[in-house]
Structures are given as structure tokens and as C-alpha cells.
Symmetry: C2
Subunit: 160 residues, 2 copies
């Protein structure tokens, strides 16, 4: 616990509370989404796989390095994730004639379809969990998450 004098002085209590909230809240939601994706055997996408497809939808022609950075994993890990998606014919991986070290990644038709279905299902499950919350609460939840996201995108680069 961070409990020295700084706690009082610069209201670090909130930081600590945030940290605790994050560690507690995140795994609960991951479970929710994982379970929902798993419940549909035809889709059968893990969360990292789903994110990979999202990335390629938004950044067609991206490289493996770009994928690694987006997913927040090493290039080796991204490479195996990519390989699995290629095997399942959800993405294509071709050589770049200009930069021969690089690969060019794209969604296949099947990839587009699976992405569409999976994200719909995941979002509907999340929406179900959030159903009944007042607009004010939804707004506050979203605001908090967006603030967190901005923090992470600017400072949480892979530290290795």
C-alpha cells in the first residue's frame, strides 16, 4: 500500500483508489466478454484475436510490428496470433514488394464477417450488463474509461 505522508499532501488517495478499482474491475469484464465469445462456437475468437481484426479493419495493409504495438505485445507474440488468424483464413499475410522485410496484413471476406458478428455479440452482451443504468451513469462510466484510455495511449508504451 502507498501510505506515506504524500498520501495526504497531494491527494494520492485517489490514485490508489483508481489502481485498486482497475485491478478489481478489469478482470470481471474480461470474463464477461470471454464467456460471451466462447458461447458462440462458430465465432470462437479470443479477445486478442478480436482486437487484431479490429485493427486490420481500421488499418488495412498494416504490418506485423504495427499489430504488435496495437495489441501491446512483443513481435513474437503478434506473429503467432497472426499465424493463427492466417491459418483460419480470417486474414491474409503477403509480402511487401517495396520493403521486403515487411508483411502486409488484411482481412479476408470471412474475417470481415466474423469481426462483424463477434463485435456485435460482445457489444450486445456488454450492453446487456449495462442495461438499466441511467444515461448519467453511462456517461460517467464512459468518461472515466476515455480518460483512462488517453492516459494509457500516451504513456503506457511497451516497456521492455
Amino acid at each position: 500500500m502507498i501510505s506515506d505522508c504524500r498520501t495526504m499532501l497531494i491527494s494520492e488517495t485517489s490514485v490508489e483508489q483508481c489502481a485498486g478499482s482497475i485491478v478489481e474491475t478489469l478482470p470481471l469484464f474480461l470474463r464477461l466478454i470471454r464467456a460471451e465469445l466462447r458461447r458462440h462456437p462458430r465465432l470462437n475468437l479470443s479477445l486478442p484475436q478480436l482486437r487484431a481484426l479490429v485493427y486490420l479493419r481500421d488499418q488495412p495493409g498494416a504490418s506485423a510490428s504495427g499489430m504488435a504495438e496495437y495489441l501491446g505485445v512483443t513481435r513474437a507474440t503478434a506473429s503467432t496470433t497472426i499465424e493463427r488468424l492466417v491459418q483460419r483464413e480470417l486474414i491474409t499475410r503477403t509480402d511487401d514488394p517495396q520493403e521486403r522485410r515487411r508483411v502486409v496484413l488484411n482481412l479476408t471476406e470471412a474475417g470481415h464477417r466474423q469481426l462483424e458478428q463477434a463485435s456485435t455479440i460482445a457489444q450486445e452482451r456488454v450492453a446487456e450488463a449495462l442495461a438499466g443504468l441511467s444515461p448519467s451513469r453511462l456517461r460517467r462510466i464512459n468518461e472515466g474509461l476515455l480518460l483512462l484510455q488517453s492516459v494509457l495511449h500516451t504513456r503506457a508504451g511497451i516497456t521492455r
Copy 2:
């Protein structure tokens, strides 16, 4: 995407935004915490392991079923997680004389120490990421997370 007419009518846009925010934000933070825990080889606790220790600190003598429910995993998964922690002598698993099907889980001294060190390290890393945010932003982040947590605790039971 959920983009039918309901979107406009009952402001489901926020729900959808929340869902997207969640899917995007969670992995970023998990990466942050995982990387930090991994950077200290002496600790070497995964996030589920850390949460398991937290649970036993707060609920000494808990059962394997209680652990599974807390972690949000099946009993089989909890059992393997428990086994690993027992092997590493961070927790003890003994029989309950009253209820002989049940096991009684507790932290060892080493478990207490590792928990203390790991949670300090994880929180400090998170605090570092959050450093510089205004008190207002911290408050809004925390508020959003607490709202999310309450949603999950009341409705996101294991669906199986």
C-alpha cells in the same frame, strides 16, 4: 455494430460507446500491470495469482469454490491456480474437519509478504501512469470504475 433505430430512441449510443471503451481500455491496463509484475522476477505473480492472494487476505479460510467465484473462473481453473500457489508455498490448503468435502485456504507468511510487495509494485506502476492527472480527472476515472464494478457485481455472475 448496434446501429438500428433504437440507438436514437433510448440513447443506446452511450451503451455502445461504453462497450467499445471497455474492450479497448482493459487490455491496455492489463498489459501495464502484467509487464510490471513480470519485471520483478522475485515476485513473478500473474494477475489472477495476485487476486487470489488478495482474496485470501480478505477472506482467510475461504474454500476453493469461493475462490472460483471471486476470480470468476470455473472450479477446475481455480483448483489449478490454487495448486500452483500451494506448490510455491504462498498459500496452505488443509481439510475442513466439519465439512470434509471442503478445503480451507490461507496465506502463508511468504504469501503475505509477496502480496504486500506485489500490490505495492502494481499500484505504484498504475500510480505512475496516472501521475499528473488533475484531481478532478482522477475522481471521474474512479467514479466510472466504481459504477462499472457495481454493475458487474450485481449482474455478471458466471453464466454457464
